[in-house]
């Protein structure tokens, strides 16, 4: 197709305001973070030196990775069978109904979803009341403000991303291939392991990396559901900046978190292609 150069120029110009906006209000703040990490209090690498020399901060980074990894595995373990069943449904109507269940949480406020887990897991919450009434326990269990509640809350919030990533790939897998394997004598387990599982790997990789990236930067859920020990990087940044007013150190922490996130994003791009994120 032929578009005249003038039309093309005008069309390109239409995108310009948004790009200027992003340079000013997205890139510039990121540059400010880097700048501040190097000049606050004075021109120095001290913030980074502090960061890398302290055991306490190393532990926060380790915990953040650990939590993000466990949440990713939980999402995969729960999301894979769910996406498998949804994509195998014969009726389109049932499929979209199941997908609505997956999408509903997206539209509900993150704070509301986190609060819901406080109601469910609290001392006088749903689970404890139920177990007490049934006589299974005589003291309320401690289910909230521990690592467990952080994992439950984060998995609940990130699971839809995993299911949708997996579903997008599984939907394109021709299931007759699995039937063919069965006809040729493979048992259901073997047919799944040799045919379906390898073909669904792009979904597994994409969903896992996406969930992992998002989990690394989580703030609200671990801050509200976690105990004293469950401090993630984002929470440390907030404490340093808003409570201790050490903006230089907060900026250095943010810069390191940014670096880690970008590394995982590059891996995502190499494996899956970043364009997957916007061309769904």
């Amino acid at each position: 197709m032929q578009i005249s150069t003038t039309t093309r120029r005008i069309t390109l110009l239409l995108g310009l305001p948004a790009l200027v906006f992003l340079v000013f209000f997205f890139l510039l703040p990121l540059v400010d973070v880097l700048r501040n990490s190097l000049i606050d209090p004075t021109l120095t690498f001290e913030n980074y030196a502090d960061l890398f020399s302290s055991r306490v901060y190393a532990q926060v980074f380790f915990k953040t990775f650990q939590i993000a990894l466990v949440v990713t595995l939980l999402c995969l373990a729960l999301g894979y069978p769910t996406a498998y069943v949804i994509s195998a449904l014969n009726s389109k109507r049932l499929q979209s109904l199941a997908l609505i269940f997956v999408i509903i949480p997206f539209w509900i406020s993150l704070l509301v979803r986190t609060y819901a887990w406080m109601v469910v897991l609290g001392r006088t919450g749903v689970v404890n009341s139920l177990l007490l009434t049934l006589g299974l326990i005589d003291q309320p269990l401690r289910l909230l403000y521990i690592r467990f509640s952080v994992l439950v809350g984060m998995t609940h919030i990130l699971l839809p991303f995993m299911i949708l990533s997996l579903y997008a790939v599984m939907q394109g897998i021709d299931r007759r291939l699995v039937s063919a394997a069965a006809t040729l004598g493979a048992g259901p387990v073997r047919a799944f392991l040799t045919i379906f599982l390898p073909m669904s790997m792009p979904g597994v990789a994409g969903g896992s990396l996406l969930v992992f990236i998002m989990a690394l930067g989580f703030f609200v859920t671990p801050a509200l559901l976690g105990g004293r020990g469950d401090i993630m990087i984002s929470m440390l940044v907030e404490t340093q900046a808003r409570q201790l007013l050490d903006w230089g150190f907060a900026a250095a922490l943010s810069a390191v978190l940014l670096g880690i996130t970008l590394v995982v994003l590059v891996i995502y791009h190499r494996l899956i292609g970043l364009d997957r994120l916007w061309s769904v």
Binding site: A18, L19, D32, F101, V102, W107, A116, T124, R242, L257
Partner: protein, 282 residues
Amino acid sequence: MERVKLSRSQIRGIIATWRLRNLLSMLVTGLAILVLIFLVLPVFVIIPISFSSAQYLTFPPPGLSLQWYQQYFGGRDWIAATIQSLQVGLGTVVVCLLLGVPLAFALVRTSFRGKFLVDALVISPMILPAIILAIGDYLLFVRLRLVGTTWALILGHAVIALPFMVVNVRATLKGVDPDLERAASSLGAPPLAVFTTVTLPLMMPGVITGALFAFIISFDEVVIALFLSGPYTQTLPMRMWSGLRYEIEPTLAAVSSLLIIFAAVILIIVQITQSHHTEEPR
């Protein structure tokens, strides 16, 4: 055709495989149903709690009362925060419409060198941890003397809402045949008229969904708001945050229930717009 004779043990093998398959599919389906329940149920537990007559969080509610709704509607701070959030949300939608729709149009209708970088730039605010942007926004807006203003919140939120607008508009725009535009302009319509009478109506479902997304992103945002708002620009999520951080205020159950209903209404609008879109003949 030759008839295949199966031995007894072969038949037994087939039956065993069939049983195993049934058992596995039942197990997997059961797990999937549990996961779907896990996704939605906790949220709906809040609704009965919101009508509780108890003074503290307890389940099941000992009696019914509208006290928490009265607390919300009678609470000056709650209402002020809600109005502030609505303002910021609408402002975010307007900014995202003005910037996002033309950008999506340019990205779909042209190709140029370095387009991938533009795509990556537009999409990355969606995935980067909000805390990084919150720190950066604060440092920038302090210099611009905008911290504590509604404008700071709108601009901060527009950055993270813009990708959702662009992705949605792009998706529908890809389905709009450029030949229709060319037909209109060959009949003498000036470019602006082509856009408003042909392109815009056809990409409306994406614009509406994108706008609703942008609104919800802003209306729900807490991390950037914690850094950018001042004493007079507290948003609803910030008010909720302080109600959850140190002690759990029961009023939150009422606020949350209202937000769930609000989300349901928006989801229904989106579903209607989308289904209307897909039913349209191509």
